[in-house]
Structures are given as structure tokens and as C-alpha cells.
């Protein structure tokens, strides 16, 4: 089962086993990892599952969709490595993925 390292804004780490096919957002919600809200339930409609993907993993997670890019445009403290966690689906090639959370979702 692939694993994700979630790093909270304050630095606390969570190592979570995630069934393949689950989104990174859903993995955080299901495991009560703080720092990801996911208000819209994974429809790419709210921008409250903003994460920074570790640069070494960024190419493997694919590229932002148009609507994802539009929402990230309004998120606070967006960076190159910003993604919406609901748009990254876990599989074995992402085993060990590392994402950091921003100060808050907005």
C-alpha cells in the first residue's frame, strides 16, 4: 500500500498508508490529519486542500488542471509546488510522496 508523508505547517509529520486510488485529500481527511479541509469533498471547487508537493515528487504528480490552477490562483501563499490534494490520486509510483501543508486553508 503506498504511503504519504504529510507535514503540518508547524512541522509535525504523519506517515499514512493509503489504498491505491484514494486522493491525497481523502487520505488526510480519513486519517484525521490536520491542515487539510476539503470543503467541497473532492470536486476541485473550493481550494481548501492546498498542499506543497516536495520538489522531488512534483513531476510524478502530474500537472494542474485548468480549474485547479484557477483556484490556486486565489489561495494564500501559493508556490510553484502548490497543488490541490484532491487532484492527486495515489498509486504505487507515488509511494513515499511528501507534501507540506500551508498555514491555513482559505
Amino acid at each position: 500500500m503506498p504511503r504519504i508523508h504529510f507535514v503540518e505547517f508547524g512541522g509535525r509529520e504523519h506517515l499514512i498508508d493509503v489504498p491505491a486510488g484514494t486522493s491525497v485529500m481523502q487520505a488526510a481527511i480519513d486519517n484525521h490529519v490536520p491542515g487539510i479541509d476539503g470543503d467541497c469533498g473532492g470536486e476541485c471547487a473550493c481550494g481548501t486542500c492546498h498542499v506543497y508537493v516536495d520538489p522531488t515528487w512534483l513531476p510524478k504528480t502530474g500537472t494542474r488542471t485548468t480549474s485547479e490552477d484557477e483556484l490556486l490562483n486565489f489561495a494564500a501563499a501559493t508556490q510553484e509546488s502548490s497543488r490541490l490534494a484532491c487532484q492527486i490520486r495515489m498509486d504505487d509510483t507515488l509511494d513515499g510522496l511528501r507534501v507540506r501543508m500551508p498555514e491555513g486553508q482559505h
Binding site: D37, D39, A45, T48, N73, F74, E103, Q105, H106
Partner: protein, 414 residues
């Protein structure tokens, strides 16, 4: 609202021909009888055309997923073409503002003001909000009936708004007044009975704020909304109508909405004592309860879009130019997405999943500030073990847009 008119409304909602249903009548919101009409539309015709209303013809979108589909499709469903509310004003009579703009201008102006409600600044505001909540709660009268809307809901949100604008604090009730005027749809018999009267009062608002603008544009950029607007390249050259439009947006958005969730929250808890008991027993439930209050209240009943081209929504053919109303208030009661949607349940499974903030690029910019204010208020109310007794039904405002209250009589035992 009497039980009788509730029963009558239900009978009418079930017997009236489907094509004659008009959910836009403000009176149905004032007397709280709109619910069975939405219920029938969701069941029988979730995307419904009303050919004749006091606001002209319009489409109603009543189910959660259809609303989300319209809200996230800003390329087809424009906020700019006809504005974001059901009533129409001619182009020259409108006050342009960023929520009623499409990209790219919307994006630039929104980004000018959004830092004030971003996570970093909310952390700075928390202490201030808490001290104000404490002062307001501690000053409430004991042993006499008072209006919760005036003493708590308006007071707390208006103080917040004065801070965000760095507005002269002693004159902050002007903000409340302008907010109420701005959301008024002029009707005979109301205090604001003509558009001219409404526009004249809003011109006073503009004049006042122009003074603040002139003061701040000559100073170094500060961290308040007026200074941000005056110094940003995307807003510093706004004409007076656009300045006023954005002021109204920020005033209403920061005032009328959370005000009504503050009142609604107390009303719902008083009607669902088991939920209040649950919350008192476990304050960790407060964040979820706050989301549930915001869903159950739905402080803005609708947002409007205008179709830029022909489109299909929920199987219905919408034509270019048609007025499309997303009834958030109805979508938040859609049992296909929200379990037992008519029940107020503070510890439901996915409390954040609601439509009250909208979705897509126009999603409420101040949503986390709204939640923060409500959370702190409930934390401090529980901390004080305030025994608030709601001693009468609320009075609601006659609006299909601002879903809110003008009064809620409350008493605290002496």
C-alpha cells in the same frame, strides 16, 4: 410564524401547478414558508423555469450537484453579464464590484483584498475578536428581554468590519445602516421605497469613504481594506461607482452574512435543546457545529448567473441570456448529498460540505473569518455557561437574497 400559515403554505406548494411556482417572492422568506415550494421543486423539477415573477423570468437551480455545476462553470455562467442577484438593474445604474465581474478583472481585484482574510492575518485577529466577544457577552442585561440581533449579532460583526476598514470606531453603525440599505429591494411601504432613495443614501456612503480614501492614498500602504484598494494597481484607478460597488460588496459580505449566522445559531440551538446539551458536554464539537449553523442558516439564499451561451443543466435547455438562480438555501437541504438535511445535527459526518460559501472562483473570500467569529462566540458562551432563553420567534427580513433576521428576543436569568 404560525403553524396555520405553515400548513397553508404546504398545501399551496403541493396543489399549485408546477409551472406557476415562484420561489422568489420575498414575503415567503419573511414568513419562512418557502421551504415546501423548494421541496417540491427538488422532487419534481429540480431545474425549473418561472416565466413570470416580480423579478422577471428566471431559472431556479435547486439541487446541490446542479448548483455546484453552475457555480464552477464561470465561462458559461457569467457573474458580470447580469450581476449576482435576482433583481435587474440597467448597466449604467449598477455599481460594478469584483464578485459581479468575470475573469480577468475579477481575479485581480479579489486578490487585492483577500490577504486581509488569509490565514496569517486571521491568526492576528483572533485575540481581538475574543476580547470583543467577551466584552459584548459580559455587558448583556440580566433579567430583561433584549434583541439578540442588535446587541450581539450586529455589534460583533460591525466592530469587525470597522477594524477591517480601519473605519472610525464610534461611527461604526453607519456601516450597519449602509449594509441594510444596500441589500434592500425597494418596495412600497418599506422604509426604502424607491431606487432613488436607496441610491441617495449609498451616495452618502461613497462620500464618507472617499474621505477615508483621500486620507490613506497620501500615506504609506496600511493593512486595512481602504488602504489596500487605494494602493493596488488593480483598484487604485476605480471610478466612483466601482469604488462604491466594491465597498458595498465588502460591507455586505462582512456584515450581513455572519450577523445572521450568529442569530440563526442561537435560534437553532434553542429549537434543538438536545444539540445544545451535546455541545455543552463536548466543546470540541464547536467547529463542526459552526459549519452546521452556516449550512442550516444559509445566510445568502441565492446567487444569480446569466448564461452566456446555450447550456444544459439537470437535463434542461438553458438559452444564452437566461437568468439562472442558484438557490443555495435549497441545495443545502438536498437529501441526495446531505443526510437528514432538514435536521440540525452539530456532529454530522461531513459538516463542511455545504453550499453556503458557494463554489468555484467566486467562493466566499471571508469564509474563514466568518467561522472564526462564530467559533469564538460559541467558545465564550459555553465558557460562561450563559443560560440564554429565547422567549419568542425571530422576525425575518423580507429578502430572497439576505436570509436573515431583524429581531430575536432573548432573556438571561437575573
Amino acid at each position: 410564524m404560525s403553524t396555520l400559515s405553515r400548513v397553508q403554505a404546504r398545501e399551496e406548494a403541493l396543489s399549485i401547478p408546477l409551472d406557476r411556482i415562484d420561489v422568489s417572492n420575498p414575503k415567503r422568506f419573511q414568513d419562512d414558508t418557502v421551504w415546501p415550494f423548494f421541496e417540491r421543486l427538488r422532487r419534481e423539477e429540480p431545474v425549473h423555469y418561472c416565466s413570470d415573477s416580480m423579478f422577471g423570468p428566471y431559472w431556479s437551480v435547486t439541487k446541490y450537484r446542479d448548483i455546484m455545476a453552475v457555480d464552477t462553470n464561470h465561462n458559461v455562467f457569467s457573474s458580470e453579464a447580469g450581476g449576482i442577484v435576482i433583481f435587474d438593474r440597467k448597466v449604467g445604474e449598477r455599481y460594478p464590484n469584483f464578485i459581479a465581474m468575470d475573469p480577468p478583472k475579477h481575479d485581480e481585484q479579489r486578490k487585492t483584498v483577500s490577504p486581509i482574510v488569509a490565514p496569517a492575518n486571521l491568526a492576528n485577529l483572533e485575540g481581538l475578536i475574543r476580547s470583543r466577544v467577551c466584552a459584548i457577552l459580559d455587558s448583556l442585561p440580566r433579567g430583561e428581554t433584549f434583541n439578540w440581533v442588535e446587541q450581539v449579532s450586529i455589534e460583533l460583526t460591525t466592530q469587525m468590519l470597522a477594524t477591517l476598514f480601519d473605519f472610525p470606531f464610534e461611527e461604526r453603525r453607519l456601516l450597519t445602516y449602509w449594509s441594510d440599505v444596500a441589500t434592500t429591494f425597494p418596495q412600497p411601504g418599506q422604509p426604502i421605497d424607491t431606487w432613488e432613495k436607496r441610491d441617495a443614501i449609498l451616495a452618502e456612503c461613497l462620500a464618507y469613504f472617499t474621505g477615508l480614501w483621500n486620507e490613506r492614498i497620501n500615506k504609506a500602504p496600511g493593512y486595512d481594506l481602504i488602504s489596500m484598494l487605494a494602493h493596488s494597481p488593480s483598484t487604485r484607478n476605480m471610478g466612483p461607482r466601482e469604488f462604491l460597488g466594491n465597498l458595498i460588496l465588502l460591507i455586505v459580505g462582512g456584515n450581513d452574512t455572519t450577523r445572521n449566522s450568529i442569530t440563526g445559531g442561537l435560534w437553532f440551538m434553542s429549537q434543538n435543546r438536545d444539540q445544545l446539551q451535546k455541545l455543552r458536554g463536548c466543546p470540541a464539537l464547536i467547529p463542526g457545529a459552526v459549519s452546521e449553523i452556516i449550512r442550516y442558516q444559509t445566510p445568502l439564499a441565492h446567487m444569480r448567473r446569466t448564461a452566456l451561451r446555450d447550456a444544459t443543466v439537470g437535463g434542461k435547455q438553458i438559452k444564452a441570456g437566461d437568468k439562472v438562480i442558484m438557490w443555495y438555501i435549497s441545495g443545502n437541504r438536498d437529501s441526495e448529498v446531505i443526510e437528514s438535511p432538514d435536521s440540525f445535527i452539530i456532529d454530522r459526518k461531513n459538516p463542511r460540505q455545504h453550499l453556503s460559501f458557494g463554489f468555484g472562483i467566486h467562493r466566499c473570500v471571508g469564509n474563514r473569518l466568518a467561522e472564526l467569529q462564530l467559533r469564538i462566540l460559541w467558545e465564550e458562551m459555553l465558557e460562561r455557561r450563559l443560560d440564554l432563553e429565547v422567549v419568542g420567534d425571530p422576525e425575518r427580513v423580507p429578502s430572497n437574497f439576505v436570509h436573515g433576521y431583524s429581531a430575536l428576543p432573548v432573556r438571561i436569568a437575573a
